[in-house]
């Protein structure tokens, strides 16, 4: 991928962060930090020609299926979908309000959203079913499921992981947003997920670990995802920073699920502006 394209997408990811922050500040709620750790992933998928979709035909049968299992990151997906043209951007102004089309957790009544999520541990199994249907009916769509890392503490994920490899679902790609944090603090200080790569490998998956804020690395990890000679499902462990872009909330416990208010809001907006204009795109 050309450097100019990477820079363009990086700028877009930061634009999405800014729109997400504005939307959450305006609503007084929304999971800002969970959204910010996966900004580059969503931007690459939707704005970087990875996913096949038609925003004017959300149910297009040949579309790739994207399932946001970490449904609390809905704010940035809503921003991403609005920018992709799935629905009018002014819907974003209604987030969590009386006239809202959507709220904190993800709703599949919104064009472009496949499933209502927010109950962690649900998305990978749904994705396995969607993928299995493609196998049965010889459909060419690919299924992506974006998981939170603390979400992997839910045992149902591992039931689904076993199932996916047992049925050779090589048309399924899971992405783990490995921001390292749950609500209370670091996952490794609470219930350990490491060694995560080994866990997935032992469950029969191919594993790639990348810097989840590097669009270049995300592209490299997904460049041959439709190569079905690979007999296994693929998981991309995207190492990220929770709250990436707002320095004082990065990797900070107990700001999960919050939107900044008052002076905090002004401060964090300033931090994000500074981050967005830093010019260190790679």
């Amino acid at each position: 991928m050309e450097k100019e394209q990477i820079i363009k997408l990086q700028r877009k990811a930061n634009d999405f962060r800014e729109e997400t922050l504005d939307m959450c500040i305006d609503a007084g709620t929304g999971h800002v930090t969970s959204s910010f750790s996966c900004a580059e992933i969503l931007t690459s998928l939707y704005s970087g020609n990875i996913l096949k979709y038609k925003s004017d035909e959300p149910k297009w049968d040949k579309r790739d299926r994207f399932i946001l299992s970490k449904g609390q990151a809905s704010p940035i997906l809503y921003v991403t979908l609005a920018n992709a043209g799935f629905f009018p951007k002014d819907w974003l102004n209604t987030f969590c309000k009386k006239e809202a089309k959507f709220g904190v957790h993800l709703q599949n009544t919104v064009p472009g959203v496949e499933y209502s999520t927010g109950s962690l541990g649900h998305g990978l199994g749904l994705g396995a079913g969607v993928t299995l249907r493609a196998k049965i009916d010889k459909k060419n769509y690919h299924t992506f499921v974006l998981l939170g890392d603390a979400e992997l503490q839910e045992g149902s994920n591992w039931e689904s992981a076993m199932f996916a490899s047992s049925y050779n679902l090589n048309n399924l790609t899971a992405i783990v947003d490995r921001n390292g944090y749950g609500v209370l603090g670091a996952t490794e200080d609470i219930v350990k997920l490491n060694p995560l790569e080994k866990k997935f490998r032992s469950f029969g998956w191919d594993v790639k670990t990348i810097d989840g804020h590097s669009i270049k690395e995300f592209y490299e990890a997904t460049n041959n995802f439709r190569d079905y000679k690979r007999g296994k499902p693929l998981v991309i462990i995207a190492e990220t920073v929770k709250g990436k872009g707002i320095k004082s909330w990065e990797n900070k416990a107990l700001v999960h699920g919050m939107a900044p208010k008052g002076e905090d809001a002004i401060k964090l907006k300033g931090e994000l502006k500074k981050y967005s204009s830093r010019g260190e795109y790679e």
Binding site: Y115, S116, G121, H122, L126, L132, R133, E159, S160, F163
Partner: protein
């Protein structure tokens, strides 16, 4: 009942290649045909993983497959209840859940396999239809009904081999009622409303009173949700009702009847709910457990005697 149900589904699956069965490591002669003829296209197993089974079913069904899932009843209801709530209640994905062995069907398997609260918890899920057949004739019809429905559904299939109830009350006589989710056996001032295996106990009680020239009716309610208008109308034709179930009273059949009467301003009186007040397990066979809980024939007669004498 289980094999009758699955035989019917198998026949439908031969015609409809979009019908898919997923089970959670279940053995049954009627399922062998599925494995042999449909493996890898219309039959899959998730292993002993009911949560994943319901999640995978959600993915398949939303993509257009007609999905039936199958496990032992306590595990397809309680274990994965939240995924069912989200898939079926919230997103209205039409998955069919088939549970074998409600109540004390798995009598000697003990408390982990007893199921006496499934009606309560499953009826709390919006959009979910709930069925409980009392014999093979009804089970076979419900298989087709669930296949044809666009709603999600849960059916509880008794593990015990129960005799068909058509001989004493021809199925044709009840055809319209069956379509409306119930059968009616006999008439009287009082009727016992029951479901599943307990309909057979209700009929034994009916015979006891019939021998004493006291006619009572028995209503076999196999469609527990939604309650049809025809059933409401029929129920209203009685003066008094008694409900009988092998299930906790909290939210079970008796609650359904009481709520239906109140919510629809029906004039019929529900005089007594007979069922389980609390749950304590016991061994020694299903009949012994039923006696212990006072839901056996003799205990039901004692209760009705108090009402009619």
């Amino acid at each position: 009942m289980r094999d009758t149900f699955w035989d019917r589904i198998y026949d439908i699956a031969k015609e409809d290649r979009d019908l898919v069965l997923i089970d959670a490591d279940m053995g049954a002669p009627s399922l062998d045909k599925f494995r042999e003829d449909f493996n890898g296209r219309q039959y899959f197993s998730t292993g002993i993983a009911e949560q994943n089974m319901i999640a995978v079913a959600g993915g398949l069904a939303k993509e257009g497959k007609k999905v039936f899932t199958y496990a032992i009843a306590p595990f397809i209801t309680s274990r994965c209840h939240e995924f069912t709530k989200l898939n079926c209640g919230l997103m209205k994905i039409p998955i069919n859940l088939v549970g074998v062995g409600p109540g004390f069907s798995y009598d000697d398997s003990g408390p982990t396999h007893h199921l006496t609260e499934d009606i309560s918890i499953m009826r709390a899920i919006p959009n979910l239809e709930i069925y409980c057949p009392s014999d093979n004739l009804i089970a076979k019809r419900l298989a087709k009904k669930m296949y044809c429905s666009e709603n999600p559904a849960y059916i509880r299939l008794d593990r015990e081999i129960l005799p068909n109830l058509s001989d004493q009350n021809g199925i044709s006589k009840n055809r319209e009622k069956i379509q409306a989710g119930f059968r009616e056996f006999g008439k009287g001032d009082l009727a016992i409303v029951s479901t599943g295996n307990m309909v057979h106990t209700a009929l034994e009680v009916q015979k006891y009173y019939s021998d004493k020239n006291i006619p009572i009716g028995v209503l076999d309610l196999h469609q527990l949700k939604p309650i049809s208008e025809e059933f409401k109308k029929n129920m209203s034709g009685y003066k008094n009702l008694v409900s009988l179930e092998e299930h906790l009273l909290d939210g079970g059949l008796g609650s359904i009847i009481a709520e239906t009467i109140i919510d629809n301003n029906l004039l019929v009186n529900l005089k007594k709910r007979i069922g389980l007040v609390d749950y304590v397990y016991a061994y020694g066979g299903r009949k012994n457990i039923q006696e212990l809980y006072k839901i056996d024939e003799k205990s039901v007669i004692n209760e009705i005697d108090k009402l009619i004498n």
